[in-house]
Symmetry: C2
Subunit: 330 residues, 2 copies
């Protein structure tokens, strides 16, 4: 690991920042930046712990960095916001080499470049056990336009941006074979969904722009769990239609039905967006997404009733519990 803070600063200070609002970037006690007029500020942090959230067996250092930033960008996307800055705090054990650490920062850097984000601070401390990485992301959203979970109303359409379950399928393969094994199709695609998820910022921006009364949540713990969060926050019943829930071709072709439905509902780490929108706003929202080349699936309706989620399958209706599972413990 870097011997001191100055070395870290020298290694990571960019020649220029993408955002002109950066006043003090990396190198002083804290970062300073200008707020943008007409916007509110968004802030979130997520911590990933080696052995709990990732393992070297399934995730390279590069992928770990990429994902640590991605999960936070996804939180900004779920507010309908634009990610702008990030700060990285990292506790590094002696088992991590300088090269691995550099790769971890490269993984964040690649994703940051794609989303035009600037790293404006951070620190590196030592850990006597596994690596712990905390990424703080700052974003912004037009005043009064941020989206929350509590806005679902009876009559709303429930939507999801893309099929879920692929990340969990990819993780299963990685846990069995390790990340260095030759990876045939469809596992190459599936493991990519796990290792390098795509935060749905564009989708969130379109939804915030077109449907200010939408509710929105990102899928970190599985479709069922996040749908339940919307139901609880809004005090409504979400009724999903099984035949409308998108199933990825890679899952349908490669796995038994029971297995892939479990991943679709409970797999987690898809970082797709789930939400609800007033029925009257649906046609414009669907059209706007299509114009941007983005997907949106109508997967159910919001009903009056207790705060819960059910799945309608023909005439059968069953409850979708709020559960996820810990892959490393199963």
């Amino acid at each position: 690991m870097p011997k001191d803070e100055f070395e870290w600063i020298q290694q990571h200070t960019p020649e220029r920042y993408s955002h002109p609002g950066v006043i003090e970037g990396i190198g002083d006690d804290a970062a300073v930046y200008a707020a943008e007029e007409g916007f509110d500020e968004i802030l979130c942090v997520d911590t990933m712990v080696e052995g709990v959230h990732f393992k070297k067996q399934t995730m390279s250092a590069y992928d770990t960095g990429y994902k640590a930033l991605a999960v936070n960008i996804s939180d900004i996307a779920a507010m309908g916001g634009i990610p702008v800055y990030y700060i990285v705090s990292i506790a590094v054990p002696s088992s991590w080499t300088d090269e691995e650490l550099q790769n971890l920062y490269n993984g964040m850097g690649e994703l940051a470049e794609e989303y035009h984000m600037d790293m404006i601070g951070g620190d590196t401390v030592s850990s006597d056990t596994g690596l712990v990485i905390s990424v703080t992301v700052h974003g912004r959203v037009e005043k009064g336009r941020h989206l929350v979970r509590r806005n679902a109303r009876p009559g709303d359409i429930v939507f999801v941006t893309n099929p879920t379950g692929r990340s969990a399928a990819g993780l299963e393969w990685l846990l069995e074979h390790g990340r260095d094994s030759a990876c045939p199709q469809p596992f190459q695609t599936l493991t990519a969904y796990h290792r390098k998820p795509r935060p749905r910022v564009k989708e969130g921006r379109v939804i915030a722009g077109v449907a200010p009364s939408a509710s929105l949540n990102d899928i970190s713990d599985g479709l069922a769990s996040e749908a339940n969060e919307i139901a609880e926050a809004s005090g409504v019943h979400l009724q999903l239609n099984k035949q409308d829930i998108p199933v990825a071709g890679e899952l349908e072709e490669g796995f038994p039905e029971d297995t892939y439905w479990d991943w679709i509902f409970y797999g987690g780490e898809d970082f797709e967006l789930i939400g609800t929108v007033r029925e009257k706003d649906w046609p414009l929202l669907k059209h706007s997404m299509k114009q941007e080349g983005l997907s949106l699936y109508d997967i159910g309706r919001v009903k009056e009733g207790d705060s819960l989620v059910t799945l309608l399958d023909g005439k059968r209706e069953e409850r979708l519990p709020k559960k996820g599972y810990n892959h490393f413990q199963s």
Copy 2:
């Protein structure tokens, strides 16, 4: 530890926030707040790892929470800013009880109340080893008035807000006796400096208000180390006068001279402020601090020359190296 996110949210959502700018506090994917006109935004994060930065032997859960927030408030103070919001990300091992975790949040809460700060988000994950706590603090400062390390100029007066070394002395006692032993004076005072440091926000605000061309840094790694940071960032030589450096009575009376000077220069975790100010601004700055009941000590001068720090002791001048020490490894 809390069983799920919702339990955490219920436990920690306050009935009201101190700051009217909070738009979304705890409970959604991210926090949202309004920027204040005429101000720039400040952001910093610090991570504390059990076994590396603290141990149960010397710090209660309450003190650990207090300190995890204090170190970040200190970074805001070192920019001349006002701390406003904080977000807590925490990885909890099974060895921590619910009560300890609650005490940790209480420790943060006490300090936050004192500084009129709001906790607006966070998450709790599990750790398979020690506790890791990452606190992100957001603050603000009047546009163009933030203070950095790189502003020291030849001729400037070097200042420190209060005597240093007491935190290290307190830690030595705690390491030897443990935190549950009866603690006689002066150790009660000294251990309090270690367990519950006072971030110097008021001092930073006066300096930013009166002396916009000052340089400023907070003392986390020791007076010598932080003075060197100012010297390096500004490209100047800081010459400190030994007879002007304040020595706490508790140190002078209770310890051999060699011991306490080592703590004063290299002890760390004092969270006092060190900086430099133009000679012409000194009288007004000193007067303004006094009016607020705050201390400020003239401890040296900025000279032209290589980026380093020396200590003048009568006719002898020796270099003060940029070193700290790891108390847990010594």
